[in-house]
Amino acid sequence: MMQEPDLKMFLFFSELYGRPVVDSEGRTVGKLADLKVLLGELFPRVTTLVVKKRHEKKLAALSWNDVESLNGRLVSLKPGAESRFTPLDVGNEEILLREDLLDKQVVDTLGAKIERVNDIHLLIVNRDLRTVHVDFGVRGILRRLGCLKTVDRFTNWLFAYGLPHKFISWKYIQPLASDPKKNLKLNVTTLKLQELHPSDIADIIEELDKANRSSVFKMLDLETAAETLQEMDPKLHLSLIETTPEEKISDILEEMEPDEATDILADLPEEKKQRLIRTMEKPYRQTVEELLKFEEGTAGSIMTKDFIALHRDTTIAAAIEEFRQTTHPLETVAYLYVTDEEKHLLGVITIRHLLLCDKQEVLGRLMNPHLIKADCDDDLATVAELFAKYKFIELPVVDKENTLQGIITLQDIVKAKPEEL
């Protein structure tokens, strides 16, 4: 049937596995043990036949080009193929369907879930055998148990119902490493995993085993890795951080708001924490060190330094200009804080003021001096109460001398660990 080049035919891996492999004269050479696939194309091609030869312990490999024809019952080889068997060798861009995929877990990047592979759907097109779908369904399990037809007949007879197919296209599949020492082999055509929402990636990583957790984490870019780390169960931080090179981790941390990075750092063992801080860029490192001084569970430990504070004599026009010049991303832009020469907090002014008031007016006259503020040493429960009572979206944090140290946003307090509240 493979002599007709246009023929398209679907096959399941379970239908091929274990089938006799026969030479051009019809003698049985061995059994089909596996298929090797070269990743990189949308629907990757089977390049190599893996055969368990008679009376030989080791598996032998044979190029797909040596296959004459293939059907649900046997695999026939071209003349002279027997002499072209080689020892099995798996390259970086290659996977074995049975060894690396069948019965293993994969990431379904369409549904943002981890699934177990019950069967693999292959397509013969133009003499090539290609991987097109992965079967996650009960049908796949029944097919491999050899009772799909019986069950189908039964459910049709009794309920007039057929079990549903559960296929996912190969392009949405990210295989995981079955051997903890091996690296992840990327389904390079898509890199769909990267496009998922970080909280979905975090959920996926939480469900994986240790080895795959760190390999999936390693393949994320810095920004995605940073967001994923923040979304993840903090209990997993340490094991992920320990299995990732320090330089990369500090780069990932630098992608975060300093207060978020501080939260993660604060839970690490002292030695690890110090080493990570040392590898950070200077200005970022100073901010983090300052934030780390505050005890965990206090306002100081969760506050952020990203706020705008201006002197009371600044005019509205100058304040707008200042606002325009602030290029780094702010966590929130609802308020500007007004201080004196020594950075003592005097009042607050809203963006609304900047837009509506006379451009020559100075901040000191427009500001609201009646401030609700938190002290650096206040515990989080107290801060949470302030937020609940006054319904602010952010709150300034001052030290004992009333010097403005930072702000806490509503989001910071929502994300705080429940046991500290």
């Binding site: 996650f136 903890p180 020492k181 240790k210 094991s239």
Partner: protein
Amino acid sequence: MKGFDLRRRWKGFVLFIAVAGPGIITSNVDNDAGGIATYSMAGSHFGYQLLWSLIPIMVALVIIQEMSARMGVITGKGLSDLIRERFGVKVTVYVLVGVVLTNFGNVIAEFAGIASSLEIFHLSKYVSVPIGAVLVWLLVVKGTYRSVEKIFLYACLFYVTYIISGFLSRPDWGEIGKSLVRPEFDLSSGRLGMIIGLVGTTIAPWMQFYLQASVVEKNIMTKNYKLSRLDVIAGSIVVTVVAGFIVLTCGATLFKAGILVETAADAALALKPLAGKYCSALFAFGLLNASLFAASILPLSTAFLVCEGMGWETGVNKKFSEAPQFYGLYSFLIFLGAGIILLPNIPLFSVMYISQIINGIVLPAILVFMLLLINNKKLMGEYANKRAYNAISWATVAILCILTIAYVVSLIT
């Protein structure tokens, strides 16, 4: 220097408490209704004579549980997960069917325990069992996992009641010491059957799945594995001490008085006139707690291991529609298990007994899979079994196989 040393030791202790749990919890769940029934019978039929057998049982328990914990820490995967990935879907389905049937037998036994413990307080099984089933079901489905685990942890403290009731019964310590130091190896068929019963209840197949899953859930790092091993050893000692005290209590009272116990509830009732009403109440309370504890863990653990092996969604934090197989199997095990106990005139004792037979038959098979997996270098790397360790563990499996076969043969003949 001394202060530093103390602090380091304290830090080690705190870390141990944090990692501790899976081993200790598993071992305590192991002292379930079936276990208590068997231990009581051992004490009432043979006095202190079989106490020695708990020592080799403890050694086997430590070895087997250590392997479960090690596999959990190193691979980060559950046992059914590993069996599926290594041996394929066919083998997995057979193993899972066997394990589900075995565990279902144990679930029924737990509800038998609930029924018989509350009959001591004159509560009919038609009231106690349905309430127990709903309670257990809600505990897991509606409670958050964290609070559920805390309830389980506190529940472990109730096992002290066995030790208290043991002391209240004033045993003869000299005689106990003698039977431990110089045991009589009189292996008549009655004694052999009892020893096999003790092995079967103490080392159950479900424990290996449950322990490994809990270790994975805890996400213990490889470098902290030593603490996890400590936890398993501590748990195995705890389970043996509790089992020993049940045997001892029954030996000190029932055996001396010539009362033969047929069920654990009998044991509690028989203790009433001998050691005062408190001892009986404690025993009943302990049995109820043990049954409830195991009844909430067994169906959950079974649903977990099946869904994990088959690749279905799991987790108590998922909605029913997200994990239908998980909740379906979980609910089915509880309500069918409880329903069977509600059948009029069901012989509770035979039910517990049959569940132990199936336990015994399935156990060696599970152990063989465990040993094949833990010797897989690709999976375990440098943490695969060493040769000496392998010799001991294969020998344990062989002895268990022989005992199991002998057990089955003795039941047939």
